[in-house]
């Protein structure tokens, strides 16, 4: 059961049950929708980017604890950050979640120092089929950022 404990950490269940920034934005913003057809998970993202900085964001979604917690944690991690920093963060997250691509950027000695709460998602690596759950919010984010770029 070691695996399950690592997967369903306290902080993940907390984000799952109390998702941050749940809702929609009114006024100017970009909107992106992501879904995993194989499991039915959905993630809707509203983003307000001003002068290269994400100044506001809101999400709606449904799905497993991993996909929803990952989205909620992502909200915490991106609001107030520059798009450049977010791209950097997304890169680190992707590496953390990828089983055999590059070295995990997470500092095992100082938990939370690199990716904050998001590091709790490391346990997902042991459940490859769930990785796409953790990725959903981030691929949706990439779509939203693409819109602000163009």
């Amino acid at each position: 059961m070691a695996g399950l404990d690592e997967l369903y950490r306290e902080v993940i269940l907390d984000h799952y049950r109390n998702p941050r920034r749940k809702g929609t934005l009114s006024g100017d913003h970009v909107h992106a929708e992501g879904n995993n057809p194989s499991c039915g998970d959905e993630f809707f993202l509203d983003l307000l980017v001003e002068d290269g900085v994400v100044v506001d964001a809101a999400m709606l979604g449904q799905g497993c604890s991993i996909s929803q917690a990952s989205g909620s944690m992502m909200m915490d991690a991106i609001v107030g950050q520059s798009v450049d920093d977010i791209q950097d963060l997304a890169g680190k997250f992707r590496i953390m979640m990828t089983i055999d691509e590059g070295e995990n950027p997470v500092d095992e000695e100082r938990p939370g120092s690199v990716l904050g709460d998001l590091e709790a998602l490391q346990g997902v690596r042991k459940f490859p089929v769930r990785i796409k759950c953790a990725d959903l919010a981030w691929t949706t984010l990439a779509q939203a950022l693409d819109q602000t770029a163009s």
Binding site: G40, G63, S65
Partner: protein
């Protein structure tokens, strides 16, 4: 409980372990496991008689053709019909697409209606959406009653001469609910529509006498009834098969091919373009041999009792909601449920750690999920090789899931 326990030894995969625990396979509604006899039949075909069928005067070609055609005879007999009314397809999905393209495309016009039920699998929705788009026809749905059955009380309101096709499932792969075959086939006939039965879950789990059902077409898959992947069957009433056009063109299904036009081979060959799934037919034949030897009445009795036991035991689990009829005479062995706020995908992951295989998701029935206002369910489904201890393990593991998610 009709005890088929000894059969488990016939299924090699059932002795494997998953995550250090003996496999508890509760996903037969998705696909079933295969007995050794099915694998042996296919191996023997490849090792002794492999050749292309119908076109050869040499010994292997004759043997392969005989094996292929005798598989057709076996599968036809299994549902109580003649081989001339049974075409092999890639599966239920392809069979329904063939009906949609081969009959629907040629008989539907602008404003015509195709009547479905909201509990259909995507295989019995999307093909009709495609031909509806091509012909200007329209899809109409029957909703459910309070017990997850199809609500036929308002049938009058939707049934008129514009309804040309009524297509529905014999057993839901989500709720397990049986379809109102009698009511809907008669309703279809009363307005001159054809009735199409998605029997993907019905043929594996009941004793089907197809000629007595009153439907015009019926589709099912080998892999859901102990047979190999890559094959299924399309049955049709003789006159309907005659009036149906082939959906696919190619070798084997033709009579004479000229540069600009061709004529078709007789039914059922006109529906089998190209090299057919030959080894798969042989395996499919061996699968129905196996089921017949066990006896479908025994299979039904066994599934009923294990389903009743499962419904019972699951009802003990706090926070657990079952989506489907409680009465085992109205249902098959696919049991969908939710457990508190634990997402079905999380349930499946937790159960998998105990070696238990259940499905989680929309089960290819998204309109049904939307109608039930749930995003997904976890589903345990049973077949002849399951035993009550496996239900006990399921229940135990569900308690564990509650613990992990802190449900009290």
């Amino acid at each position: 409980m009709s005890d088929l326990r000894a059969l488990r030894a016939d299924f090699p995969i059932l002795s494997r372990e998953v995550n250090g625990k003996p496999l508890v396979y509760l996903d037969s509604a998705a696909t079933t496991q295969k007995p050794q006899s099915v694998l042996d039949a296919m191996n023997s075909y490849y090792e002794n008689s492999n050749a292309n069928v119908h076109r050869g005067a040499h010994t292997l070609a004759v043997e392969a053709t005989d094996l292929y055609e005798s598989a057709r005879t076996k599968v036809a007999a299994f549902i109580g019909t003649s081989p001339s009314q049974l075409a092999f397809t890639r599966g239920t999905t392809t069979a329904i697409n063939h009906i949609a393209y081969g009959w629907g495309l040629h008989h539907l016009s602008e404003g015509d209606k195709i009547l479905l039920t909201i509990m259909e699998h995507h295989a019995n929705i999307v093909p009709w959406q495609l031909v509806a788009k091509y012909t200007g026809a329209e899809l109409v749905y029957l909703d459910l009653d309070d017990d997850f059955g199809v609500d036929t009380s308002e049938l009058d309101k939707v049934l008129d001469e514009r309804v040309k096709i009524v297509s529905f499932s014999g057993m839901s792969n989500v709720t397990g609910a049986l379809g109102p075959i009698d009511v809907l086939s008669k309703a279809a006939a009363s307005v001159g529509a054809i009735s199409v039965l998605d029997a993907a879950q019905l043929v594996p789990h009941t004793n089907v006498d197809v000629e007595a059902l009153g439907v015009d077409f019926l589709a099912f898959s080998s892999h859901k009834m102990l047979g190999p992947t890559g094959i299924g069957a399309l049955w049709g009433r003789a006159d309907r098969l005659e009036e149906m056009e082939p959906a696919e063109g190619g070798g084997e299904m033709i009579n004479v091919v000229e540069r600009h036009a061709s004529t078709w081979a007789p039914v059922p060959h006109k529906f089998e373009a190209g090299t057919p799934p030959i080894a798969e037919a042989v395996g499919f034949g061996a699968a129905v041999d196996y089921l017949s030897a066990v006896g479908m009445d025994n299979v039904v009795a066994h599934e009923r009792s294990i389903t009743a036991y499962a419904l019972d035991r699951l009802s003990e689990v706090p926070d657990l909601t079952i989506y489907g009829p409680k009465d085992v005479s109205k249902r098959g062995g696919a049991v969908s449920f939710e457990l508190g706020d634990i997402h079905p995908h999380d349930i499946a992951t937790i159960l998998d750690q105990d070696g238990i295989a259940v499905r989680a998701g929309h089960h290819c029935a998204r309109p049904l999920m939307k109608y039930l206002e749930i995003p997904a369910t976890a589903r345990a489904s049973f077949y002849l090789y399951n035993v009550p201890e496996e239900v006990d393990l399921l229940v135990e593991s569900l308690h564990k899931a509650r613990g992990i998610f802190g449900l009290v």
